[in-house]
């Protein structure tokens, strides 16, 4: 029953807190009352996104006075929203591939735009992203969803070095600092990595697909060079999929030979290591 509660339906949380009659006002949206023929000063953004003093206020005389925030800030906000949603998407009991794809596309589009404008100029050489094969292998092995960039939610919103577009935002310089965010490459990859984990796998195929060798890759078996032993006398210490290391049948066949006691002891030792890992 607990699982069922986790299933998220957009309204269920809101419903519990009472029916909301209006969509929460997003800074990019306009009060519908503003639209009209009366001359109106632009809307004061909520304190959360309050820009510093000295920001130019534009008179919204144009047809569509939605842009009271400078474009790069709008974009940054959407970017943050996107990232948050992608992360929360993965944490849900029922991740939606459709939604993740839409979010990832929006994210990519914003990143592309930012790159084109040269805003990421100073972040051109990001630290290496986690290698893909490892990440994918990690996904396959554990039922956990792909590792999301965990450092992101808590880092403050980093603004970039002032670009020609941000003239008005000199007052925002309080936040200016190039937080070395290695996310530029990661973000391109992380939404993508998330997409790989969506398949409802069939448990039997999972086992046959999995290369058991990969699990044991990192175990150092160099001490147990198979060439030291006679090939016939002792089964290889490396695990082959489908074969059983130290199976009873194999052991019984060799148990008589005293020269192979050493081999068997080594075998046991290796088994111990493998089982422990």
């Amino acid at each position: 029953m607990g699982q069922r509660d986790i299933i998220s339906y957009e309204t269920s949380v809101r419903r519990k807190s009472g029916i909301r009659t209006a969509a929460k006002m997003c800074r990019l949206d306009v009060e519908s009352a503003v639209k009209g023929h009366e001359q109106h000063v632009n809307i004061i953004p909520s304190s959360r996104y309050m820009v510093g003093r000295g920001v130019k206020r534009k008179l919204s005389e144009c047809e569509d006075p939605t842009l009271d925030l400078p474009y790069p800030q709008q974009r940054q906000m959407v970017l943050d929203l996107c990232l948050n949603k992608l992360q929360s998407c993965q944490r849900r009991a029922e991740p939606s591939l459709h939604r993740s794809v839409l979010l990832a596309n929006t994210l990519r589009q914003i990143q592309r735009e930012m790159r084109q404008e040269g805003v990421l100029h100073s972040l051109e050489s990001p630290p290496p992203a986690p290698s893909l094969p490892q990440a994918l292998a990690a996904q396959r092995q554990s039922p956990e969803v792909a590792p999301t960039p965990s450092d992101r939610p808590d880092t403050p919103v980093a603004t970039f070095s002032p670009s020609p577009l941000c003239e008005d935002d000199n007052a925002v310089s309080g936040c200016i600092g190039l937080h070395k965010r290695p996310w530029s490459e990661d973000d391109g990859k992380s939404p993508d990595l998330l997409l790989g984990s969506f398949e409802i796998t069939n448990s039997t195929s999972y086992l046959t697909d999995l290369q058991l060798d990969d699990i044991f890759e990192d175990i150092d078996t160099s001490m147990y060079d198979p060439s030291d032993f006679s090939v016939l006398a002792c089964p290889s210490p490396r695990v082959n999929s489908g074969s059983s290391l130290g199976s009873d049948d194999n052991l019984k066949a060799f148990s008589s030979s005293s020269a192979l006691q050493v081999c068997l002891n080594d075998l046991d030792h290796i088994m111990e290591i493998l089982v422990r890992s």
Partner: protein
């Protein structure tokens, strides 16, 4: 006020509402799909709890005094059968629960006394047979009336069991279970016009099934890239052509529709027709792609047109013209300036459905605040109505609603900021022959019909 759907005197009236009234709605009761059968006699709903409820229309009542012998009232829909179609499952490997929510119900054409429908959740499709039993045999030899076995030695004479009438019992039994063919979430099922096959679509693949065969299906569309990281587009809906059994369409999250001909190739990855409207550069925003994602596609009954629903509009396409729709109807354009808020609260991802009326002259789709919209294709008139308990007096005429977008709010208008975005009408259905509509508002099902003069 001139109405939509049936001419100038036309007016929609409240007929019935089904479902609990309490404010506190159990999540399992939320209706997730609504569908009339081919004759309109039966109306099926599926909910998030995996249950299917079928309503049957009672016979129309005629007043003998009526000069034209017109029915006094349209038949009402009453519960005919209720059954648990799907149960929640658990994918142990991914630690994910597979929801029992019924995503779609599609009726099969009736071939005998029983009715059949297909219902699907995210992973499994089931064929249910709903049959009536109104007779039972009485006078068995080997058992008593209450079912106890009789002692064989006590039987001295034989009798022939006789069929006696009994109270009507409606039984639903699962006749076929089509499972394990979809890795991703199933979003559509559609019965083919050959009445032998049907298709099922998930985010990345479409399969063709034979109704009699459950252990095999043909994969006819596969858009999964070799590298999942290159995925940028998913399938959002699919439907078979109503008359040509070799043709089907599927829509995508990028606002495109592909029409495929199964005669062309076994794997229909290459479309025969590609429908896409060029984007209007002046209305481009961060959310352009998200709002262009098509949430529903429906062929017209004639098979000449198809209709698509994206977040803000409904478009009618002529199958012979791929580069743009022939008609575009704005459902709630006033939301365009609110897209960021709707993105924040996830409403922008809501999937609205749309439907045609029987003659293809009108289309209907839902909106927020329990509003739903109807467009008359001939007169170009549109109307906004509300499904609410306040308008629920029997045969009360529905008053058209209006959302005010300007600064001045007229009387009876509602401003955009007062809309309740929790009350959304995602699922609607129109009777195949008459002006009767079913509108699902969260856990309530409203039935409206035209006013009989």
């Amino acid at each position: 006020m001139a109405g939509v759907g049936g001419g100038n005197d036309f007016q929609w009236c409240f007929s019935q509402v089904k479902g609990a009234i309490d404010e506190d709605v159990a999540e399992a009761d939320i209706i997730s799909t609504v569908e009339f059968n081919y004759s309109g006699e039966l109306l099926a709903t599926g909910d998030k709890g995996g249950r299917v409820v079928i309503f049957q229309r009672e016979q129309e009542v005629s007043l003998p005094s009526s000069s034209k012998n017109r029915p006094h009232s349209r038949g009402e829909y009453n519960v005919y059968s209720t059954f648990q179609s799907h149960e929640p499952e658990f994918d142990y490997l991914k630690s994910l629960e597979i929801e029992e929510k019924i995503n779609k119900i599609r009726w099969l054409p009736q071939q005998n006394a029983a009715h059949s429908l297909l219902s699907t959740n995210d992973k499994t499709i089931k064929l249910w047979k709903i049959s009536e039993r109104d007779k039972r045999a009485e006078g068995y030899n080997l058992k008593d009336e209450d079912g106890r076995l009789r002692d064989p030695f006590r039987i001295t004479s034989l009798r022939v069991p006789v069929l006696m009438p009994m109270d009507l019992m409606v039984e639903a039994s699962p006749r076929r279970i089509f499972a394990n063919a979809h890795t991703y979430h199933i979003n559509s099922i559609s019965v083919n016009s050959d009445h032998e096959t049907y298709l099922s679509a998930d985010d990345l693949r479409i399969n063709l099934w034979h109704l009699e065969i459950t252990d095999r299906s043909f994969n006819i569309v596969d858009i999964k890239p070799a590298n999942m990281e290159e995925l940028t587009e998913v399938i959002t809906a699919a439907e078979c052509h109503p008359h040509q059994c070799n043709v089907f369409v599927y829509s995508s999250s990028k606002g495109t529709i592909r029409l495929c001909d199964m005669r062309a190739a076994a794997l229909c990855d290459r479309q025969s027709k590609f429908f896409e409207e060029p984007e209007d550069p002046s209305s481009r925003s961060f959310f352009s792609e998200i709002i262009s994602s098509i949430s529903d596609v429906k062929f017209s009954h004639s098979g000449r047109y198809m209709m698509t629903r994206d977040y803000l509009s409904v478009k009618v396409w002529d199958l012979n013209m791929e580069n743009r729709p022939v008609e575009t109807y704005q459902v709630h354009e006033y939301l365009r300036s609110k897209l960021c808020s709707l993105y924040e609260n996830d409403c922008i991802f809501d999937k609205f459905e749309c439907c045609w009326n029987g003659s293809d002259s009108a289309i209907m789709t839902g909106s927020y605040n329990n509003f739903f919209r109807m467009f008359d294709r001939n007169t170009r008139r549109d109307i906004t109505l509300e499904a609410s308990r306040e308008n629920s007096k029997p045969r009360a005429v529905l008053k058209p609603r209006k959302v005010s977008t300007g600064g001045k709010r007229k009387k009876d208008e509602i401003s955009v900021d007062s809309l309740d975005f929790n009350k959304k009408i995602l699922h609607t259905a129109w009777h195949p022959k008459e002006n009767v509509i079913a509108v699902a508002a969260t856990n309530n099902l409203y039935i409206f019909q035209d006013k009989i003069n």
